[in-house]
Structures are given as structure tokens and as C-alpha cells.
């Protein structure tokens, strides 16, 4: 018995060692960028070490100063504004649409539901150009409206789907009891469903934050005014204008751009991981 136990323990130690090595390999590029952002410019290249021999904040100071008289402070502020409104929009409208799908009877409900589900699987590029033409005719180019307004129209089918699944899991008796007490649909939605929807609301907020923060494609299409650049766009402009000589500053700002989502990841990682395990989010 004890020999079996010892063998298991040995296997477990070997497994842990392999897992640690694999983790180190996986994280090495990120850690290297982190370390390099604190190295003086001329020491970044040809240095594989994860610990700066000479420690400097120069890259952060130079990088933060940005370009064309705009600091990264502006770009971070812009990104935060976009993210904030996208989260509000998704939470408000996706939860309402989900309530309608889960609890209301309306004509061709199944058809609309299938359509919404289908839009999850199909590339959104087919609607991209008509949307661009529409937003252009509304004079919304170089504003955040094209990024934010669609979120207020329940356009994120994925979150609707997630919330529909969640609401379907809530007992119908709650609705019926509220109805007996004289609640209408708006009150049932606001007082019964929304408070119980909290886990789905948290998951939606986290993923909206991460996806909007990482989004590059739609921001690239709609925003070109330097004052309105988001962090993702600013990094790309920074890369194009600076070149190899200020790789350190580029790394420093890249690291900073990852900090908000990394903090969110640390705080909410349990929610995130449960979220994908349950709903299979693309991540």
C-alpha cells in the first residue's frame, strides 16, 4: 500500500515539475517583454534574461509622453470611455432581449431566436460595409458612436444567448407570483430577473471589457483622429512612427496596455474560467 502511495506521489511530483516548466515556457514571452520594458534601450536586444541588469523607468516616461503632443493618458482615457459605454449598452439591452426571448410570447419567436443563434456562427464582415456607409452618412466617423451605439441595440448575440440560458434556468413560479402581486413585465424584469441574473451580468461585463479593450478592427476603421485614438490604435501608430530605436518605450506602453485586462483577469479569474467552462466562450 505504501509503495503504491509513494509511486503516486512520485508521479505527482514529476507532473508538477512538467507543469511548472510548461507554464514557464508559455509565459516567457510576456515576462521577457515585461523585463525588457525596464531595460535601457541598448540592452533590450540580444538579452534573453528576465531580470534587467540595469533597471530604468526611462522607457515608461518616454513612452507615456506619446506622440503629436498627446500622452498615453489621453489614449487610456479614450479606451476606458469606450469600454464603459459598451458594458452599459450590453448589460441593458442584452438582458432585455434575453428576457423577451426567455419569457415573452411573440410571433415567430423561435425564428428570431434561430436567426440570432445563426449570427453567432457567421462572420460579421457581411454587415460591416453597410454599417460603415450608414455611420458615415450620419457623420459618425471619428466619433465613438459606431463602437458604442450597436451595443445599445443588443447586437452581441453571444451575451443574449448566455442570458437566455440563464433566465430559462430561473423558476417560472417567481414570475407568476409577481404577476399575481400585480407586477407587469417591466417590474418582473427589473425586480425579479435582473437581481437574479447577477452571475450572467458579471460574466457579460468581464468579457465585454476584455473584447472591447482588445478590439482593433472596428476601432481602426472608425477612428483616425489622433486625439481620439484608443490604446490599441495608439500602440499601432506608435509602432509605425517610432521604429526600432524606441522599442523600449513601445514595450513599456504595450505592457501598460495589458495591465487593465490583466488586473481584471486576476480579480475575476474564477468567474471567467467558470464562464468559459459553462458557456464555451471563445476567450
Amino acid at each position: 500500500m505504501s509503495r503504491v502511495y509513494a509511486a503516486n506521489k512520485g508521479a505527482s511530483v514529476i507532473k508538477t515539475v512538467i507543469a511548472v516548466i510548461a507554464s514557464a515556457v508559455m509565459l516567457y514571452p510576456l515576462l521577457w517583454m515585461l523585463a525588457s520594458s525596464f531595460k535601457p534601450q541598448h540592452l533590450i536586444f540580444q538579452d534573453l534574461s528576465l531580470w534587467p541588469d540595469v533597471f530604468t523607468l526611462e522607457n515608461y516616461i518616454n513612452g507615456w509622453n506619446g506622440f503629436t503632443n498627446l500622452t498615453f493618458g489621453t489614449f487610456f482615457k479614450n479606451s476606458f470611455i469606450v469600454v464603459l459605454f459598451c458594458i452599459i449598452g450590453n448589460l441593458l439591452t442584452c438582458s432585455m432581449a434575453a428576457y423577451a426571448f426567455a419569457r415573452l410570447e411573440f410571433t415567430a419567436r423561435n425564428f428570431w431566436f434561430a436567426l440570432m443563434f445563426g449570427s453567432l456562427l457567421l462572420p460579421h464582415h457581411v454587415v460591416l460595409i453597410p454599417q460603415y456607409i450608414l455611420f458615415d452618412s450620419l457623420d459618425w466617423i471619428n466619433t465613438y458612436m459606431p463602437l458604442i451605439v450597436p451595443k445599445f441595440l443588443a447586437s452581441d448575440a453571444f451575451f443574449i444567448f448566455l442570458m437566455v440560458q440563464f433566465i430559462r434556468g430561473l423558476p417560472l413560479e417567481l414570475d407568476q407570483a409577481a404577476k399575481v402581486d400585480g407586477c407587469g413585465h417591466i417590474q418582473i424584469y427589473g425586480r425579479i430577473i435582473v437581481p437574479l441574473l447577477l452571475p450572467a451580468i458579471v460574466t457579460t461585463s468581464i468579457f465585454t471589457l476584455i473584447w472591447t479593450w482588445n478590439d482593433f478592427f472596428s476601432q481602426l476603421i472608425y477612428i483616425s483622429d489622433p486625439r481620439k485614438l484608443t490604446v490599441a490604435l495608439a500602440l499601432r501608430s506608435f509602432m509605425d512612427t517610432m521604429g526600432q530605436s524606441s522599442m523600449g518605450s513601445l514595450f513599456a506602453m504595450s505592457i501598460l496596455s495589458l495591465v487593465p485586462i490583466f488586473i481584471f483577469f486576476l480579480v475575476f479569474q474564477r468567474w471567467l474560467i467558470e464562464g468559459i467552462a459553462t458557456y464555451g466562450v471563445k476567450g
Binding site: V126, Q131, F217, I273, I276
Partner: protein, 270 residues
């Protein structure tokens, strides 16, 4: 719901010449016919198919093997799971694409690593024969999220199945082949569909690593990047709409084929 209208407009535009200055000009199937002899379109297809058909299986294989490995007899699973998930969260960002471009560049650390083995340095992102593989590496690196889905699936397999099989004398290999693998087929299927659709739409890494143009001799000209160039730098909205519809059809056909084949290999609760 709100996509039906724009979809119809987009379909209409795909049969026109439209530059946003003059009214759309009806050209019938010209846009679609022109693709056949458009070398950049054909190159974009080739690049994207290579990326998807090589990258996604490699990514899922990595995810699957690590999920199997982490599933049993390991202390600190939540910690490792979180660590392996980090690239999936940070990976789609511009910042990581910049890092990749640097890592596999001429002065990058990849060359530094290879110099230990006396391999001559070169720019892996600028060389058209290797640049696409650096992007595939980036895709594979983000295996964390399918891995977590596999892990969740592995946890669902009832322990009693394995015990019964062990009593019947099935070895580890047969238990894997007859229990683990069939039980996970719905999850393999799900991951396959999701990752293939995502990979077809990848944009950021190709844009950043290839400098916005598709890299050396278009070696990293992803389909979406070509669509972007046609629509938003050349303002050929009609042709770009046609490109979007071809992408939709390709994704649709892939999904449909996967669903068809799933009847043969995906086992649902018996």
C-alpha cells in the same frame, strides 16, 4: 435581427461598383467573376486556409493533451489552469502582436535562442517562407480557452465508467480510446467549430506583424486583411462586399460540413 437589413444591403452592394462618392453602379456578377483572376484574393485564400487548417488542429491538440495531463493527480490545478489561460486573454491584443513581431524579428530573442544551437539568425517575420508560421505559433499559444472547455468536459465523465472498465481489464489506452475520447467528442466538435470560425476572422496579428499590408509578397495576407484593404484603403465597397459574402459562404460551408460529419463521429449521451 438588426443584421438582416444590412445583410441585404451588403448583398446588393456586392453586385455593384461603389466607391462611396458616386451612386452604386450595377455590374451583375462581375465582382465575383473577377475574384478568379485576382492574384491577391487567391493568395489571401491560400494563406487563410493554411492558417486555419494547420493552426486550429495544432491549437486543439495542444489544448487536449494539456487538459488530459492536468486533469488528474496534480496539485494546484486552478493555478496552472489560470496560467495557461493568460495567453488567451492577452493574446488577441495589439500589444502581444507587437511582441510577436519583435520576438521573431531579425534582432528578436528567437534568433538569440537559436544561436545557442548555432543556427544563423534571420527575420522570421520578414521571410515569406516562415512568416505565416510565426502567426500560427501565436494562434497555438492561445490554447488556454479550449483547454478549459476540455477540462470541464473531462470532469463530467463519470468515474464509475472507468472503474467498470478497469474491472473488465481494460488498460489505460483502451480506457482512453473507449471512454475518454467518445465522451469528449461533443466538446471536440464544439471547440472545432468555434475555433475555425474565429481563425477565419483573425485580423490583428496579420495587420501588426505584416505592417498593415500582408507582409512580404503577401505571405501573411489574411482574408479579413485583404477585405479591409479593399474596403477602407481602396474604397472598393462593391468588391469588398462580394469578398465578405464569399467569406460568409466559406464559413457557412465549413460549419455545415462539420455538422454533417458530426453524425459520424460525435457521440451524444447514449
Amino acid at each position: 435581427m438588426l443584421s438582416l437589413g444590412p445583410m441585404a444591403v451588403s448583398l446588393f452592394l456586392s453586385f455593384t461598383d461603389y466607391n462611396m462618392l458616386q451612386a452604386p453602379d450595377w455590374v451583375g456578377f462581375d465582382n465575383y467573376a473577377r475574384m478568379e483572376s485576382d492574384p491577391r484574393f487567391l493568395k489571401a485564400l491560400e494563406v487563410t486556409f493554411t492558417y486555419v487548417l494547420l493552426g486550429v488542429p495544432l491549437q486543439l491538440l495542444t489544448a487536449f493533451s494539456l487538459a488530459l495531463f492536468l486533469n488528474r493527480g496534480l496539485k494546484g490545478l486552478p493555478l496552472f489552469r489560470a496560467i495557461f489561460y493568460i495567453p488567451s486573454i492577452l493574446g488577441p491584443s495589439v500589444a502581444v502582436a507587437i511582441l510577436w513581431r519583435q520576438m521573431f524579428g531579425l534582432e528578436g530573442i528567437f534568433n538569440e535562442l537559436l544561436s545557442i544551437f548555432n543556427i544563423a539568425p534571420k527575420s522570421w517575420v520578414a521571410d515569406p517562407s516562415t512568416s505565416l508560421y510565426t502567426l500560427i505559433t501565436l494562434l497555438v499559444w492561445q490554447f488556454g480557452s479550449p483547454m478549459i472547455i476540455f477540462l470541464a468536459g473531462l470532469k463530467q465523465i463519470p468515474e464509475t465508467l472507468y472503474e467498470a472498465a478497469a474491472i473488465d481489464g481494460a488498460g489505460p489506452f483502451r480506457r482512453f480510446w473507449n471512454i475518454t475520447l467518445p465522451s469528449l467528442t461533443p466538446i471536440i466538435f464544439f471547440n472545432l467549430v468555434m475555433q475555425i470560425i474565429n481563425a477565419f476572422q483573425a485580423f490583428t496579428p496579420a495587420y501588426i506583424v505584416g505592417g498593415g499590408q500582408g507582409g512580404a509578397i503577401d505571405s501573411t495576407l489574411f482574408y479579413t486583411l485583404y477585405l479591409y484593404i479593399k474596403a477602407f484603403t481602396e474604397f472598393k465597397m462593391g468588391y469588398a462586399s462580394a469578398l465578405a459574402w464569399v467569406l460568409l459562404v466559406i464559413c457557412g460551408v465549413f460549419t455545415w460540413l462539420l455538422f454533417l460529419s458530426s453524425r459520424k463521429w460525435v457521440h451524444y449521451e447514449s
